[in-house]
Amino acid sequence: MSAGSIVVESHPADTLMRADRLPHILCPGCGIGSVVHTYVDAIAESGIPVNQHVCVSGIGCSGRAAGYVNIDSYHTTHGRAIPFALGIATYRPDLHVTVISGDGDLTAIGGNHFIHAARRSVALLVLCINNFNYGMTGGQAGPTTPLSAMSRTTPHGCWERPFNLPFLAQAIGASYVARWTVLHVRQLRTALLRAMNKQGFRFIEILSPCPTGFGRPNDIGDGLSEMQNYLRRCEVNNEIDLRAVDIDLTQQDSPIYVGDFVDVDRASFRPQVVHRAGA
């Protein structure tokens, strides 16, 4: 080891990470690690006892997040993280359940659960790590793949209109809606902290590089280039009409709006308990 290198035996986040599982399986330049890091930072700062945090994930690269956090964590089936989490959050309302999910997992195969959990105002914090493609299966298109984007299943460019997730989340009844990118770690941490301490269904979209599946075929380059792209194009606007926050890849210089868009009070779903007179 060369003189001057920094050797640390442990990292402050070690107790909240399953350090014995590292190194992780994610590609260099992938944004998922940043999300997990910010998430565990927020857990530490949340003021909520660590043992009351629960993480549930589905399938795919983002789905692996649950495997790295050192709290009760469940890596479930494709698209079904939300109903699994509903079971925990509804039976144990004292627990703080976070769903970490990819865009395909959450809004393609899991789309029905997403809208119904939000409609019910289930007490879940749902993070969607949106990298615009199915990373783990090798870069196929999904419901957030922008128009004209290239993928393994859109070799001539995507011609399906993508979901505008913040708009969708607002429409279906989320009490909190934000969008940040993995470049905005401070804002993301603040958003996570705010959301962790709210009731109801909370949703944060986190734009994240997938150099392997999305960056390469779309000439975005490596993870760093995609971060530079975010730096150049992102515009913070908390007040914007969410109909206007589509991400348009055909317009290289069009803004990508980020911000804390929705913050309203909505009570968490609590199934009724009926106490009968005399019972």
Partner: protein
């Protein structure tokens, strides 16, 4: 730790001890309540809906949680999550909904999260005959999810058994940490008969095994099995910081994607039931002591068979019946004993499908097996079975 959602419950309201004239589906719901059901998530489908409707009425009055989900996939996922958090859970469905549940049944088997699923069978495949009887999910319930895993399946033949075997399913699920099923059929589910519900202290309740080390103990490995092949189970929010995954995992619960880990894990999941099959399997024998022809029938078909055996005896035919109460594990030891007792010459297997259980019977005996099948929509009558016995 007492879950915040489940306040103290008056067990006498939960268990309505006494004699009742009751629908099979309702008896099943009452069995679940008596077994300690904490959380029900489901989606309506004929002919199982009365179970859900009954629990919608009853469960919230005893402090339990009832959720009507958006579909069957969400229903089974939700009960697995609630069970992972410590709840006693159930969902109920029929064939088309059951098919939708299969992927997550595999997840429950892999995570070893106890769940109870009731399938009230109707004529199938596809939408089939929604309001008419079928018995064609016998193999789906055993093999429907991909891969090798073990399950325990009870087949009631009366409303009384709908109650008793639902209790048994909860206990089996918790004891072995497996998905356990109550495989009913439309006739039994929609039949009204006397049901005797015992007082609460007489309801057998087996609880899942829990860790005997405190949270944070380095000795705790969430998937390290005891001698009985079943690991003690830690629930969400207790501080054990478990990781559960549908991926092949080691004793820590961490993914370990090697053939060796897979072999060890899957063999254990299957052996939990396979090695205990004789202890778990339940069956009824009727007049088999001197029988030379034995009918093997379950569910509503066993009711026709019971009559057919009586009619046959009147005609001097030495008929008897083996009624599997667990379809899986199949009571093969009992079947083999009959087949090898030197008296039995032949088996007759009536069933409302085109030959699922007869295949299982054939697998365990070289004796001739007469099939008597109907694809669904109607019962097999005592006379049809009598004819097959008289051949």
């Amino acid at each position: 730790m007492t879950p915040a959602a489940a306040p103290a419950v008056d067990e006498t309201t939960r268990v309505i001890a006494g004699d009742h004239f009751m629908l099979g589906d309702h008896a099943c719901a009452e069995g679940a309540l008596a077994a300690g059901l904490d959380f029900y998530a489901g989606y309506p489908i004929t002919p199982s809906t009365e179970i859900m409707e009954h629990l919608a009425e009853r469960l919230p009055t005893v402090g339990g949680t009832f959720v009507q989900m958006e579909d069957e996939i969400g229903s089974v996922a939700a009960i697995i999550g609630a069970s992972a958090a410590g709840a006693r859970v159930m969902t109920a469905t029929s064939g088309p909904g059951f098919s939708l549940m299969m992927e997550n049944i595999g997840l429950a088997a892999m995570m070893e999260v106890p769940i109870v699923i009731v399938d009230v069978q109707r004529a199938s495949p596809s939408t089939g005959l929604p309001t008419s009887v079928g018995q064609s999910d016998l193999f789906q319930v055993r093999w429907g999810s991909h891969g090798d895993y073990s399950v325990i399946v009870y087949c009631p033949a009366s409303p009384q058994e709908c109650f008793d075997l639902t209790v048994a399913a909860f206990n089996a699920a918790d004891q072995y940490r497996v998905p356990a099923f109550v495989l009913m059929d439309e006739i039994v589910g929609h039949m009204t008969e006397r049901v005797a519900i015992p007082p609460v202290e007489n309801i057998p309740r087996v609880r899942r095994k829990r860790p005997n080390v405190p949270p944070g103990s380095p000795d705790f490995l969430p998937f390290k099995a005891d001698e009985d092949l079943v690991p003690p189970m830690a629930h969400a929010g207790e501080g054990y910081r478990v990781h559960m995954t549908g991926l092949t995992h080691d004793e820590r619960g961490y993914p370990s994607l090697t053939a060796q880990t897979h072999e060890k894990l899957i063999n254990r999941l299957v052996d939990k039931v396979r090695l205990n099959a004789d202890r778990i399997a339940r069956y009824e024998l009727l007049q088999t002591e001197d029988a030379d022809v034995v009918v093997v029938a379950l569910g509503c078909t066993s009711r026709s068979a019971r009559r057919a055996v009586a009619l046959a005896r009147m005609q001097g035919i030495r008929a008897g019946m083996l009624r599997p109460i667990t379809m899986w594990p199949f009571p093969k030891t009992a079947l083999k004993e009959l087949a090898n007792n030197g008296m039995v010459k032949r088996f007759v297997v009536p069933e409302i499908n085109l030959g699922q259980m007869s295949r299982e019977v054939q697998r365990h005996t070289p004796l001739p097996v007469t099939r008597l099948n109907h694809p669904g929509g109607a019962m097999i009558t005592p006379n049809q079975i009598l004819e097959a016995l008289a051949q």
